[in-house]
């Protein structure tokens, strides 16, 4: 069944595209409803590509609405002073912390770079699959991926330096 086979992957994909956990479930519902309505038109074996393509569009809409809503409802002047996000010396580096850092690093990428990096380097899709999901030529996937990796490496190095400094 499609939900069993692809639920976790689509959930991870939506999370790594920057959706907050509270928004992921709504987005998942939309993704699978779209799939169920068009199932007969999806070729066998192309289900994950179709689901990822839907997820990409729905995540983009969700982020956009979220940004609009935040802009409308929250005045940054009124926000409390943010705590320093750097970890304390006692903090251990577990997966949870790494994932939070990963999201911070992914946030530095543009949407198009983020999507291609998540598809290929995290979800281990082929260039051809990513091309199909994103609706762009494979050459464009390759060039975006190259640039995305450069930005990712730079942001990761910067984060690492900051973390090491703060834990010294």
């Amino acid at each position: 069944m499609v939900i069993d086979s692809h639920y976790d992957a689509v959930w991870r994909f939506l999370r790594r595209l920057g959706l907050q956990p509270v928004d992921v479930e709504d987005a998942l519902q939309k993704v699978f409803v779209v799939f169920a309505q068009r199932e007969t038109g999806v070729a066998a074996g192309a289900e994950r590509s179709f689901l990822f393509a839907s997820a990409l569009r729905i995540a983009s809409d969700a982020r956009r609405k979220h940004a609009a809503s935040r802009e409308h409802l929250v005045d940054t002047e009124d926000l409390p002073e943010q705590a320093d996000p750097a970890p304390s010396v006692e903090d251990t580096i577990d997966d949870r912390r790494l994932r939070r850092w990963l999201d911070d690093v992914l946030d530095t990428l543009s949407d198009e770079h983020r999507a291609v990096l998540v598809l290929v380097d995290l979800e281990e899709q082929t260039m051809a699959d990513a091309s199909s999901v994103l609706g762009i030529p494979q050459g464009t996937v390759a060039s975006r991926l190259r640039r995305a990796r450069e930005v990712f490496e730079a942001a990761a190095s910067e984060l690492r330096a900051r973390v090491e400094k703060d834990t010294r």
């Binding site: 998942l28 169920a36 007969t40």
Partner: protein
């Protein structure tokens, strides 16, 4: 300790990320209910009206319902039978612009006519050539008025990517527009968009949707309780109206609203409330209203519906009540 290969450790951490176990059950329930099953949690009667669906869609919906029932408890539930009485109740024939009176032939609305004219417009020679690259002339700002963009590409060969220019002047990918296609988007007249060549990423066009006279402002749109739409009452003797395409499609720009349908027929059987989508197609999402029952449908002011009887005969068209803020623009 920081892992030696920090970047790879970050990427590996994502592969272990997993959702909560009970998410699948909730998802399954939602999909089934949306496609035509009634939730055991008491959602007001939802079912499949086979006469309004294609064979494939019926099969898909029934397959999902069967799977859900087998998975533990999403049985079909009948609609509630408690009638409602409201001071604002009006008969079908006296609802004015809200619906087509019984017996009257539906007349295509301006939205349908404009959309048809746009779809049949000749496709011009490809002028989708890049313009000089520059920073966005304007960022999105808060406030503004609702606009529904219908962006038609007159490019013959160039596919364009559509980007919304956000509040920080960053381009946010919004969609892809192929030659000759139309892209619809609900937005505000304070939000700019940029179009880029899909293959080269070069800038092709930048625009802000023009303000539509009378369009609700953002404050009014976002705040306040849902609009209570007049009650649609189907009575025993109401005769079917002539079968024709929906006079208006569902459109954007409407606030949240509640549609009330009351089936006063005793022997006339159930009613099917059918949603009409933004392309004027009747969707497979059908809501059943049993004889003597009332049904409250959370929807928007921009939604269109049709009401059919058990035999599939058309009884009424429920038209959008929001101002049509659709603005037709072309690329380039």
């Amino acid at each position: 300790m920081i892992p030696e290969d920090f970047s790879k450790a970050l990427l590996r951490s994502a592969r272990n990320d997993a959702p909560l176990d009970n998410g699948k059950a909730r998802l399954l329930a939602h999909v089934v209910q949306t496609l035509g099953g009634g939730g055991a949690a008491g959602a007001a009667g939802v079912t499949v009206a086979a006469q309004a669906m294609t064979t494939a869609k019926v099969a898909a919906a029934l397959a999902l319902v069967a799977v859900a029932a087998g998975a533990g408890g999403y049985a079909l539930a009948p609609a509630p039978s408690k009638p409602v009485e409201r001071a604002s109740d009006v008969t079908l024939a006296s609802r004015g612009p809200f619906s087509t009176p019984i017996g009257a032939a539906p007349v295509p609305g301006p939205l349908v006519a404009a959309a048809k004219a746009l779809e049949t417009a000749p496709v011009a020679t490809d002028m989708c050539t890049p313009i000089p690259e520059a920073a966005p002339a304007k960022c999105s700002t808060a406030g503004g008025h609702t606009v529904t963009l219908a962006l038609r590409s007159t490019c013959t060969t160039t596919t364009v990517d559509i980007f919304w220019v956000d509040f920080k002047c960053q381009e946010v990918f919004s969609g892809v527009l192929a030659p000759g296609e139309t892209w619809n988007q609900e937005t505000w007249d304070s939000h700019p968009f940029r179009l880029r060549d899909h293959a080269t990423h070069r800038l092709v066009k930048e625009f802000v949707a023009p303000q539509v006279a009378g369009a609700p402002d953002r404050e009014k749109y976002l705040k306040g309780p849902p609009t209570e739409l007049p009650v649609v009452v189907i009575r025993e003797g109401d005769a079917p109206i002539a079968e024709a395409p929906p006079p208006e499609c569902t459109r954007g720009g409407g606030r949240a609203a509640t549609l009330h349908v009351r089936n006063e027929r005793k022997d006339g059987g159930m009613l099917a409330l059918v949603t009409v989508d933004s392309k004027c197609k009747e969707s497979p999402q059908v809501w059943r209203v049993e004889p003597g029952a009332a049904f409250d449908m959370p929807t928007s002011e921009g939604s269109a519906f049709r009401i059919r009887d058990a035999s599939g005969a058309l009884l009424a068209d429920v038209l959008p009540t929001s101002l049509d803020t659709t603005t037709y623009l072309t690329v380039p």
